[in-house]
Amino acid sequence: MSATKSHLEVFPAGVKLVLWLGLLALLAFPFVGTEFYTQMVTRMMIMAIFAMSLDLLQGVTGLVSLGHAAYFGLAGYALAFLTPQSEAVSLWWTLPLSVLAAGAAALVIGFFVVRTHGIYFIMVTMAFAQMVYYVFFDNRALGGSDGLYIYFKPTAQVGSLTLFALDDKVTMYYFTLAMVLLVYLFLRRLLWSPFGRALAGIRVNEHRMRAMGFATFGYKLSAFTLAGALAGLAGYLWGVQTEYINPDLMGFHTSAHAIMMVILGGMGNFAGAIVGAFTFEYLLHVFKDLPYVGEVHLGKHWQLWMGSFIVLVVLFAPRGVLGVVQALTTRGARQQKDGDV
C-alpha cells in the first residue's frame, strides 16, 4: 500500500556513515581529480542544490513541479544582466539579487499554481515555465535562442582585498561545496521545524490539515517561493561556472531531469536529492560516452539507457539509491515497518 510508505527522514547510522564518507570524498577530490573532473563535480554539486530545492516541493510537500527549471534559469539570466561587458561585479549583491529574482518569480507564479492539485499542478507549473522559456527564446533583447554570455565571474572582495576568486576552478569547487552544505543543513533543519512538519502533513493528507486549522495555501506558497529561490542559487552558480546562459536551461528537459534526480536518490530527505544529482550526472557522462557498436552509436541514445535505468530504480528500489544504502547497511535489522527494497 503506497499510501502507507513514509519517506526515509531519519537516517540510520549506516546511511549517516556513507554520507560522511561522501563529504570527505568531496573535500578531498580536487587534490586527486584532474581539472576536467573537478569542474564536472562542481557541476554535479550545482545540480545537487537544484535537486534539493525541488525535493522541498516534490519529496516533502508532495507537489511535483514540471517547471522548476524556470527559476534556475531566471537567476542565471539575472547574473547575465547584472554583469556588464566591461568589468566584474560583486558577488555580495549579485548573488542575493539573483536569488531574490528567482524567488519573486516563484512567488508570483506560485500564487496561481499552488491552488491546483495533482495532475493539474504538474500541467500548470509546466505551462508557466514554458511561458518564461518563450519570453526569453523569442526576445532578442533577452538574448533570444542563443542566450547570453556572462563576461566576468563575480568577485568576492572586502574593501580592496579579494577574499576568493571564482575564476579559479578549485576555489569555485569549494565555494559550491560550501553552498551545498549550507543549503543541506538549512533544509534539514527546516524539515523538523513546525513549517517542515506541516509541509509533510500536507503531502500525506492536505484535507485533514485544513480541518485541523492549517491554512495550507500559505504553507504551499511559502514552500514554492523558497524552492524557487534555492533553485535560483543553483542557477546563479551555473551561470558563474559556465559563463553562459540560454533558454534551454529553463526548458522542460531541465525540469524533468531534476525530477528524475530526486526520484533516483530518494525523496523527502535532501540527502537523497544530492545522491540523485550525482548519480544522474555521472550516468549522463557514462551513457553519452558509450561507443559505436557496428552502425549504432550507443552514446547518442543516452536517453534510452537513462530511462531504462530509472524504470529499474522505480521498480526495484522505490526509495532510491539512498534507500538501497539504508537496506544494505541495516541488513538483518529490517523490520516490518515499510517493506520495500
Binding site: 510508505k5 513514509s6 513546525p194 513549517f195 493528507n205 485533514r208 491554512a215 500559505g218 514552500a223
Partner: protein, 253 residues
C-alpha cells in the same frame, strides 16, 4: 447556565434540484452531546460538512459563539474552535500515533509559514503542542501506542486516534461523524466511555448509527429524514415520537 457554543439557522444545501440538507436549525450546548440520527442518505454527513466548512452552504447561517462563520474556510472554522472527526478514517497513515496527534496540536500554535525565523525552530520543542498532544493521547487511551505507525494499528485504535487528533486542537465544539463505525462490541464500549469523558467542557454533535450508543450518550436528539428535521428533543421524547418510530426506529429495530 447552558451556554450555546454553536448555532445553525435554516441551513440548506442543494445539489442541483436535491435538497440534501433542508432548513436545518440546531444549537450545540456546552457539556452536552447532541446526536443526529436518521437513515442512510438523510443528510447527516452533509450537515456535518456544512458546519465544518468542508462544503459551502446554499443558504442559512452558522455561528460559533457570537461569531458568524458562514462561508468561512475549514481552516478558519477550525481555528475558531471547531474540531471534527470523519466517518471514513482520515488520518496520516505513514506517521506514528504521536506525530498524527502532534500535528493537530501544532495547529493551535501561531502559524506564520512565511516567517524564516520559524523555519529554524524544532517543531518538537513547542511546549504547548507537547502538552496538548500528551493530554489528547492520554484522554483517548492511546498512550501505549504512541510510537506505532498509524497504518499498522487496529481499526478501533484508528478511530480513537481520529478523536485524539480532534481533541488536540482543543476545540470547544466537536463534530464526531460516526465514531463507532465498524467497531466491535468491546471497542464500541471503549469509545462510548471516551465520549462520556470528553463531554465535559465541550459542545458535541454526534452522528451515529449505533442506537444503543446514541441513547446512552445523547442529551438531545435531532432526527433527520430526506434532509429535513422530523423531530428534535430529549431521548425520552424521541423514543415516544410516533413520526420517528414510523420513519426510522421502527424500520431498523
Amino acid at each position: 447556565m447552558s451556554e450555546i457554543l454553536l448555532t445553525a439557522k435554516n441551513l440548506t444545501k442543494r445539489f442541483g434540484g436535491l435538497a440534501a440538507v433542508d432548513k436545518v436549525s440546531l444549537e450545540l450546548v456546552r457539556d452536552t452531546i447532541h446526536a443526529v440520527i436518521g437513515p442512510n442518505g438523510a443528510g447527516k454527513s452533509t450537515l456535518t460538512n456544512l458546519l465544518s466548512g468542508d462544503l459551502p452552504v446554499t443558504s442559512g447561517r452558522i455561528q460559533i459563539g457570537a461569531q458568524d462563520v458562514t462561508g468561512w474556510r475549514p481552516e478558519q472554522i477550525a481555528r475558531q474552535g471547531l474540531g471534527r472527526s470523519y466517518q471514513k478514517t482520515n488520518i496520516f497513515l505513514p506517521f506514528s500515533v504521536w506525530d498524527n496527534v502532534f500535528l493537530a496540536a501544532q495547529a493551535r500554535d501561531p502559524q506564520q509559514p512565511w516567517n524564516p525565523l520559524r523555519w529554524m525552530r524544532r517543531a518538537a520543542n513547542s511546549a504547548g503542542a507537547r502538552r496538548r498532544c500528551s493530554a489528547a493521547i492520554e484522554l483517548a487511551g492511546l498512550q501505549d501506542r504512541r510510537d506505532a505507525i498509524a497504518a499498522t494499528i487496529s481499526h478501533g485504535e484508528q478511530r480513537q486516534l481520529e478523536v485524539a487528533m480532534t481533541l488536540a486542537t482543543e476545540p470547544q465544539v466537536l463534530l464526531l461523524d460516526e465514531p463507532l463505525a465498524g467497531m466491535g462490541v468491546a471497542e464500541a464500549e471503549r469509545m462510548v466511555a471516551l465520549l462520556l469523558r470528553i463531554k465535559k467542557d465541550h459542545a458535541m454533535l454526534l452522528v451515529e448509527h449505533d442506537m444503543d450508543a446514541v441513547f446512552t450518550l445523547a442529551d438531545a436528539l435531532t432526527v433527520m429524514v430526506n434532509g429535513q428535521v422530523i423531530a428534535t428533543g430529549t431521548p425520552a421524547q424521541i423514543r415516544a415520537d410516533a413520526n420517528v418510530q414510523a420513519a426510522y426506529l421502527g424500520e431498523e429495530h
